[in-house]
Each structure stands twice: as C-alpha cells, then as structure tokens.
Symmetry: C2
Subunit: 325 residues, 2 copies
Amino acid sequence: METEILENIVFRWLGKRRDDVLQGAGVGIDNAALKVEDKIIIASSDPVTGAIEYLGWIAVHVAANDVAVAGGEPAWYLPIILMPPSTDRDELEKVCREMHEAAESIGASIVGGHTEYTDTVTRIIVCGTFIGPLVSDRYISSSGAKPGDRILVVGYVGMEGTGIIARDFQDRLRYLNEKSIKEAQRYIKEISIVEPAIIAAKSGLVNAMHDPTEGGLLGGIHEMCDASNVGFRIYRDEIPLRDSTIRICKEVNVDPLKLLSSGTLLISTPEKEVDILIERLRETGKVVREIGEIVKNPDERILVSKEGERRVGRPIRDEIWKLWS
Amino acid sequence: METEILENIVFRWLGKRRDDVLQGAGVGIDNAALKVEDKIIIASSDPVTGAIEYLGWIAVHVAANDVAVAGGEPAWYLPIILMPPSTDRDELEKVCREMHEAAESIGASIVGGHTEYTDTVTRIIVCGTFIGPLVSDRYISSSGAKPGDRILVVGYVGMEGTGIIARDFQDRLRYLNEKSIKEAQRYIKEISIVEPAIIAAKSGLVNAMHDPTEGGLLGGIHEMCDASNVGFRIYRDEIPLRDSTIRICKEVNVDPLKLLSSGTLLISTPEKEVDILIERLRETGKVVREIGEIVKNPDERILVSKEGERRVGRPIRDEIWKLWS
C-alpha cells in the first residue's frame, strides 16, 4: 500500500487516543504494543490473499513473525477464513489442518476467528490476527537501531522467493536438476523466525528487530533504517545465500537481495553484544551472520562488495514481480 | 456456517492446547478469554462482507459487541481492509472515517491492521479484531445461564433488520410515510451494546450475556440456552418492540423476533438481582425489560402470549432472507 494513502487516509483518524497503546498503527509498523495494567501484549493482523498452496501454513507464520519480532510470544491466533461458495470441503480441511500444524510448530493455540462462505471473494483467503504476551520486560521496535550497532541476519536470505520461483517458474530453470528444484520448492514452508526472535528478545541484547518480506533483505534493512532514522553499510560477501538461491536467481535474472525473504530475521545490536548473541542464536541451528553496521547518516546506505562500494536504494517492488508481470 | 463443518473441520484441530486459554474457539462462542499472567483479555474477530453502506461503522461495532458481552472493554481494534483494485479513494476514506467515528464513540483506539488492494475480493470488505482487558475480575460467557435466572433485554428488538428493510425494500412499504421510513433507516446504525454490557459486567450481577444477531432475539435466546444447557419461558408482551418495527415487519410479512437484532443485549441474571440491575442499566437511556426466565429442562422453549403458550424452535435462517432471496 502506498505510503501516501496510509498517511493521509488510513492512519489519519484512529479512534480515541489511549495511554495504554504503547505502539499503534503507523507506516512501516507491523505490530501493536498494548498495556494490560503492568503487562504488555503484542498484536498483529495479516491477510494472505495471494497464496494457493500452503495458505493455512503461511497465514499463521506471517502473523506470528510480526508478533515475535516485537518480543512477543505468538500465543493466540484468530483466523477469519473467507471462501467462495463453491469451495469444497477438502480445500477448507487442508487450510485448517495446515493452520493447526503451523500453530502447533510454534506452540500457539487457535482461539477464535470466523469461517464464512461468501461470494465477495474469488478464492479462499485468510485474515488472521496473532496476540501474545511479551517474553521479556520490554517490547522491541524496528525503530530502535542505533549508530554503531551491528546488523545480524538469521536464516538464509531470499529462501521464500527462491521456493516460489522453483514452484511457479520451473520451466525456466533449465540448468537445475529435478532434485534441486524439489528441494528449493520446500523453502516456501521455511518462513518462521519465531524461535530466533524469541531468543533474541529474551537475551535483552537487541536494539531493533525486523522481518524482511516484500523487497527482500534490502527492503527490510531500508525499512528498519527508515524507522530508526539511521543509515547502513553492509558487506555483500557476508550475506548468507544458499547455492540454489544464487543459481535460481541467476537463471531467471532476479536479485536475491531484493527477493521475498520471509524466514530471515534482521537484528540490530550493540557491538559489544554481538558475540554472545550470535552464540545464543546458533542454538536454533540456523545460519547467523554479522553482515554490516548501522551508521548515523540516514542517507548513507552502502553495499560493499569486491567491486567496491555502492549506494543502494530502496527496492520499489519485490523482484518476484518481474516474473509475475 | 453449518455446525457440522465447524465441529468436524474448523474446530477439529486448534494448534497447541494452552493453559492460558480460558475460553477458546467453539460452536456458538464468539470471543476468546486469554490469561496474561494474572490478568484476562478478551479477543474477537468478525468480518463484514455484506454491508455496503456504513461498512466501517458496522465492522467496528460488531466486533466490539462480542468483546463487551464477555465483560471486556473493547479497547484496541485491528482492521484488515481488502479492496478491489478499482476502489476509489473516497470509498476507502469513507470506511476509514466511519471506523474512526465508531471507535471514538466507544472509547476505542485503532492500533494496527492492514490495507490492501486485491483482485481476490469483488467489493470492499473489513475483517476486524477487537481486543481488550476485562472490566471486572471475571469474564462472562453465554454458557452461564442458570435455571431460575431472569432474562433481561436491553434495547429494542429487531431494529437492525427494520433499518435494513426500510432502506432496501422501501418500495414494499406502502402504508408508511416518508418520515417514518427515514427514521427507521437510521436504526441500522444503532447496533452498539457496549455501554449496557460493560455496566452489566461491572455490576457483577449477571450469569450470562449474549448479543443476538442472525436469527434475531429468538435465535439469540436459543444460542444462550444451548450453550448453557437450559430452557426458557418468555412473554411476548414484555418484548420491547418499536411501533415502526411492528408495522414494517407486518407489511413485509416477517417475524420481528427472528429478525437481525444487533443492538439488543440479552442478559441472564439471578432473580434477586433483577431490580438493581435494571436500575443500573436504565442509566444508559435504553429500554430495559424483564422478558422471561430460564428453566431447567433444555427442551422447554416456550413463548407465552395472549393466545396461550407455544414451543418455539430455533430459527433456521434469519427472517431477512425471506426478502433477500
């Protein structure tokens, strides 16, 4: 959604101002922090309108990720399932079973929601809300990154997009064997960052967290730096990319750093905490890398590679759109 | 949604069982009660797919009502707005302004959500979630009605349906003047039961609350009695109906007791508390009536009128469908 529409229409009026809203609706903010007397809960709503395969699985994880990056435990999920009247029982059952499996995999409970046949939708969609209590005594915002902080990445970059390409544009992948393609297709499901986000939140060592989605890793870093009013310097060679991601992106000519990257967690942390934090995050079994640092000048947004340094702008659209359009 | 599908598919698997879920998803349950350490919050999700006029207003109130009947303060709202790509700015603006006005009218804040243009919807829809803290030390369920309880009704019955008929089937209302029709059309907006529900919850005097929607007052009483495993005896002449509702329903041949009734609150309360509770509820300026009592036998569902007693079954569909189909 365009920032202009959000600012001038959607976020123009927001009901009553309440003191118990610690973080509310705003551009680039994906979760709310709400005070229940002396406790804080995190809530986030996300629709999934684009997915056909893994719809239930994806719906649960994208909303859960948004709660976890704020330092909340994604505990309670309320899905609204809307289906065209022609939807068959098996299709609904598949979505519900996937939601169950996804919720169970992160220890969450489905506590409400709504299910409806309606001719206002052309295919089955899920609008879900995750709610949960904080895992530590403070919530973490994407706006907390500070100059001098180190930028950590947990999880390989661009996996979600790689998986979608391997599934939907298989015919364009002439140099990959069947086995590699099948493996890459499974990346679509590896989108949860709840475990590392909770470890990071509990550690008390992070200044900001964010989960890059559209616009990929670079989009995510820009968003975090916009919210924090800082800049960045990142090192191309430090960014964790799977071989298959590199090869698939090369074949279809997309930039893996600007490609759908759910499943990657971005962390901004003070330099002195880096080693201990990396050690704790590695307990998840996921790849953890220090890829660069936060700088004071918000206009300084630099990617360093063997070819030298270059300024990188915010991706206008995700690279996946090159293939979809 | 059919009970069979809910039981066998939607509520079959619900992720992990968690001890902090005091009331979770289930047939006839419209809200979740969740434990945040020693506090309890209420959450409820509701889509509005059918409304064109007052969409934003209705979306906020229907979700808020479901939180309030459980004894929660509807404090924080997260709307997901989905629009066809052709939706113009004014239409979105109207929905957002109505949501703001509705939220402000009940002291709530819009704290998150999501806005998206998508070709998966054929008209603008809102999927909203309300969350809020309890206003007293316990949550109220629709399943708490006890034999001997008195049934109170707050707010005139069938107003929502009357308003919709006055707007959409005006041509069939030959015996009503323009002024009465215009007045009846405004009933559509009088759907909030937050104020009386909160007063009732704070009083500590109620055993169960419910807000009748589809199937009208009778549908709502059946739902409450099903959930509580009890029966009822209600008195036709005690049910508060506006003259315009009686006249409009007569003209189009629908039963006002089985007609859309958002804006009506149903309460089940011990006999000894009735007088004090009625006094407190009248502070809202709304009509409050004792219309009958809860009986032990779940099969005893009786409507008493001048013509005598008769058993009343659960409405299969709301009366409004007679006109829509």
